[in-house]
């Protein structure tokens, strides 16, 4: 998994490529932790290159969402692949998260 963090205007775009599984999820969590502490920002998970996500990955997405929102910011995901999207659908995450 490769994580890149870009600034797109005011928004922070986190570009995730590869597999987000039990092994890689902690990596993601670590690399975006400082970013999430900031106030009132827009965080976008760019999932164009996300091949796979497991429950551990979902956990990181959820905790990210919670901290961004609790800091008064906006959180969104975009460009989910069909398979990844189905995992979000199955777990009901697509109903609670903003997915573009």
């Amino acid at each position: 998994m490769v994580v890149n963090i870009l600034n797109e205007g005011d928004a922070k775009v986190i570009v995730i490529d590869g597999r987000l599984d039990t092994v890689t999820a902690p990596e993601l969590e670590r690399s975006i932790a400082p970013l999430l502490a900031e106030k009132s920002q827009t965080v976008v998970f760019e999932c164009k290159g996300l091949e796979y996500v497991s429950s551990s990955g979902l956990r990181v997405v959820l905790s990210s969402y919670k901290s961004v929102v609790s800091n008064g910011g906006k959180f969104m995901l975009r460009n989910l692949s069909k398979d990844v999207r189905s995992v979000f659908d199955l777990t009901g995450f697509s109903r609670i998260l903003t997915i573009e």
């Binding site: 039990t22 796979y52 497991s54 979902l58 919670k66 199955l90």
Partner: protein
């Protein structure tokens, strides 16, 4: 308003008050009437006596005067006789009469015609009073022949003294008078003169009018001929008679009274005239034969009584009103608690046992009612408490029994398919316990490619039966692991049970040992009903069994083993009599025939066949309570079937998260063989990752290394993953699913893994097997 009014009308207070008042009013009225009557009688008697007394007084006075006149005339008559030779002296004598008797206003000595030749036809010396003076004159003359006057003619004819009827004298005194005539006879007894004395009736009228017992009473005096001498209406005096009046009134009773008065009687009469009743009290003046009467109005006589009556009436009315108010208030107060009691009773009926009761201070029936209510409340509370305890106790017992049953049922295998990894045997069993703890049992296991299976039914119910069942199960496992001959197993079970069978429990029992490779079935029956064989195509036949004796009846019974070949695809259906003896509401049994019908038409899958039978039984029972355990065991041997297409991959991992990276390789291998879609690959990867992650995370204590065995099978129709580990017992299926409907803020991070597994796979089963946690996940593809 009407309802309120109606309530008051029908209320206790109103009714009671009404009745009490009614009675009191009746008593009042009765007393009132009695009192009124008696006082009226009393007053009436008293009044009549009083009137009569004053009447008698007046009459006596008049009579006295009249008598004195008579006496005076009689006395003077001697003097007249002595002086008969001197006609002129008569004037002196008549004058003397007037001088001596103030009541006499005129006096005459009227001679027979030509008694004195020198005096001629008419000679009647007369003295009369005008004011205080006394005058003399000679009465008779050509124009006035006194000889035909009543006062002369009548005594003359009668030959005795005579009081004339009253008349108005126009000749002399111009007043109403009566004349006393005294006939005078000579020595030869020949009448020669009438000696008279005139008496003014004015004085008599005054006497009569003095009788005034009541303000508006009025008096009359009538002569013998009924002529009024005294009357309130002056115009009728000497003009009308009593009988004329009575004729004008038209009341014949007047006439009768008039006759009585004429006859000199005394008495009392009552009349009504012009709507007014009055008393008519009369008494005679004996001297003249006249009669005096006083009439008094009832209204006056009874004025006192009537005013007393009115006073009493108002007093009574006042008292009644006061009583009405008092009665109503008192009764209302006394009965007021009743309405509150009704409310309390209502509250109590609705379960509020501590409903407030009305306060009753006085010690009366109402207080007793209150005490009874109070007692009832306390009894109800106490009883309810006791009931709660009893219910709690019952629940505890029931729960203990339920636990016992759970323990019992825990002893039998309940995970189906029991051998998911084997394709050569399909087996499904079901034990539906009756409400009470029953004694049905079944069990099975595979050892050395042989399936040992039993079904049994312990006689009786309850805890003893369940104990026997437990013992039987345990014994079977123990014995069967050492012995492979069915008859031997059964015999030893029989002996063990019979040995210690003090309560004479027994158990029908069927044991089968199926060689899974050859399909050969060895079996031994101990008094159990024969299992059924269901051939493909729905042909149902009973397995040929020797009955033998149930277990525990006689120790050392020689059980005979039997054997047969179980054809491929043929179902063996074992059951207890709970199936065939299930009852419908009409107490009719389900019956073997019905069972066979269902079996003949049933699905060939063991699980659905068993469920079909069960639902058929349930439908038949139609809610009737299940009286016996229902136990079914159904199996099918697929021994000869080849599993040519099946691919099995194994992977051995250690409990490291990094091992997860190996999983896509395993999935990839299967995918290449069976052409999985990308989605399938994604999903199976996800499933395996989640399952393995679970084991890595939870199965072994921190820092302790362990192994994870992964088997993946696929036959082109379905995929099965079996994940086994030797870690601490952990059933991931018991982890509650993440609630995916919750908003993000409330989401917990756990539970998502097993949830995803369940979502993706068709079946997820866990069992603990030989110290291993085994998670079997399968999905049709």
């Amino acid at each position: 308003m009407n309802i309120r009014f109606g309530r008051y009308i029908h209320s206790f207070s109103t009714k009671l008050s009404f009745y009490i008042l009614l009675v009191v009013a009746l008593i009042f009225v009765a007393g009132f009437v009695w009192n009124y009557r008696s006082s009226r009688d009393f007053v009436s008697n008293e009044a009549v006596e009083r009137v009569q007394a004053s009447l008698d007084g007046a009459v006596m006075k008049i009579d006295n005067v009249l008598n004195s006149v008579e006496t005076a005339v009689k006395n003077m008559s001697w003097v007249v006789a002595d002086n008969i030779d001197d006609p002129e002296s008569m004037y002196r004598l008549t004058r003397m009469m007037l001088v001596d008797n103030s009541f006499i206003i005129g006096s005459a000595v009227a001679f027979e015609p030509n008694y004195f030749e020198e005096k001629g036809h008419y000679f009647s010396p007369y003295s009369y009073r005008v004011g205080d003076s006394i005058y003399n004159k000679q009465l008779g003359r050509e124009e006035y022949d006194y000889h035909y006057d009543d006062w002369y003619l009548i005594p003359k004819i009668l030959g005795k003294p005579y009081w004339s009827e009253p008349y108005f004298d126009e000749g002399g005194a111009d007043m109403m008078m009566t004349t006393y005539s005294f006939p005078l006879y000579d020595d030869e007894g020949k009448l020669f003169a009438i000696f008279t004395a005139d008496v003014s009736l004015d004085w008599f009228a005054d006497q009569v009018n003095c009788i005034s017992p009541y303000e508006n009473s009025y008096n009359i005096m009538i002569s013998r001929g009924g002529t009024f001498i005294v009357h309130s209406d002056k115009s009728v005096v000497l003009n009308e008679t009593f009988f004329i009046s009575s004729s004008a009134i038209g009341d014949s009773r007047f006439k009768e009274v008039g006759h009585k008065m004429q006859a000199g009687e005394r008495g009392v009469a009552t009349f009504e005239r012009d709507g007014q009743e009055f008393y008519f009290v009369y008494a005679p003046i004996k001297t003249t034969g006249w009669s005096v009467a006083v009439s008094c109005l009832y209204s006056e006589v009874f004025a006192g009584v009537d005013s007393m009556r009115n006073n009493m009436f108002w007093i009574a009315a006042f008292v009644l009103v006061i009583m009405a108010v008092l009665c109503y208030v008192t009764i209302f107060r006394l009965t007021a608690p009743l309405a509150q009691f009704a409310q309390s009773a209502n509250d109590i009926a609705h379960g509020n046992f501590s409903a407030r009761l009305p306060r009753v201070k006085s010690r009366n029936e109402m207080r007793m009612l209150r005490d009874s209510f109070d007692y009832m409340q306390r009894s109800l509370i106490k009883y309810t408490e006791e009931l709660k305890t009893t219910v709690a106790n019952n629940e505890r017992i029931e729960s203990e029994l339920r636990i016992a049953r759970e323990i019992q049922l825990g002893m039998i295998p309940k995970i189906f398919p029991p051998f998911p990894e084997r394709k050569d045997i399909d087996l499904y069993a079901m034990l539906v316990p009756a409400k009470e703890v029953g004694g049905d049992l079944y069990d099975f296991f595979i050892e050395d490619e042989k399936l040992y299976f039993i079904i049994g039914d312990v006689s009786g119910k309850g805890v003893p039966a369940s104990l026997v069942m437990a013992v039987t199960c345990r014994l079977f496992r123990t014995v069967a692991s050492h012995v492979s001959d069915p008859a031997e197993i059964v015999a030893s079970l029989n002996n063990a049970l019979a040995e210690s069978n003090e309560s004479n429990m027994f158990c029908t029992f069927f044991l089968g040992i199926l060689d899974l490779q050859s399909g050969k079935l060895l079996y031994c029956n101990a008094g159990h009903n024969a299992p059924l064989l269901v051939a493909p195509g729905g042909i149902v036949t009973p397995l040929d069994v020797k009955p033998n004796l149930p277990l525990g009846v006689i120790g050392g019974f020689p059980y005979v083993p039997q054997e047969t070949m179980l054809e491929k695809g043929t179902l063996l259906f074992l059951y207890t009599d709970g199936v065939t003896e299930a009852e419908n509401p009409a107490k009719e049994l389900y019956s073997d025939a019905r069972l066979k019908e269902v079996l003949a038409a049933a699905n060939s899958d063991v699980r659905s066949l068993v469920n079909d039978v069960k639902s058929s039984v349930d439908t038949y029972a139609a809610g009737t309570e299940q009286s016996d355990d229902i136990t079914i065991l159904c199996l099918r041997c697929n021994a000869e079937e080849d599993c040519m297409c099946e691919v099995e991959k194994e992977l051995h991992l250690v409990n490291e998260l990094s091992e997860i990276a190996k999983l896509p390789l395993l999935v990839g291998e299967l995918a290449s063989e069976f052409n999985f879609s990308e989605e399938q690959v994604f999903n199976f990867n996800l499933v395996l990752e989640e399952a393995v992650t679970n084991v890595v995370m939870y199965a072994y204590p921190e820092g302790k290394s362990g192994s994870i065995d992964l088997v993946a099978k696929c036959d082109g129709k379905s995929v099965m993953f079996v994940v086994s580990d030797s870690g601490k017992p952990f059933d991931p299926t018991l982890v509650p699913d993440a609630d995916v409907t919750l908003p993000a803020e409330e989401r917990r991070v756990g539970g998502l893994g097993i949830f995803l597994i369940r979502q993706i796979m068709d079946s997820v089963e866990y069992r603990r097997n030989g110290g291993m946690n085994v998670l079997v996940m399968s999905k049709k593809i």
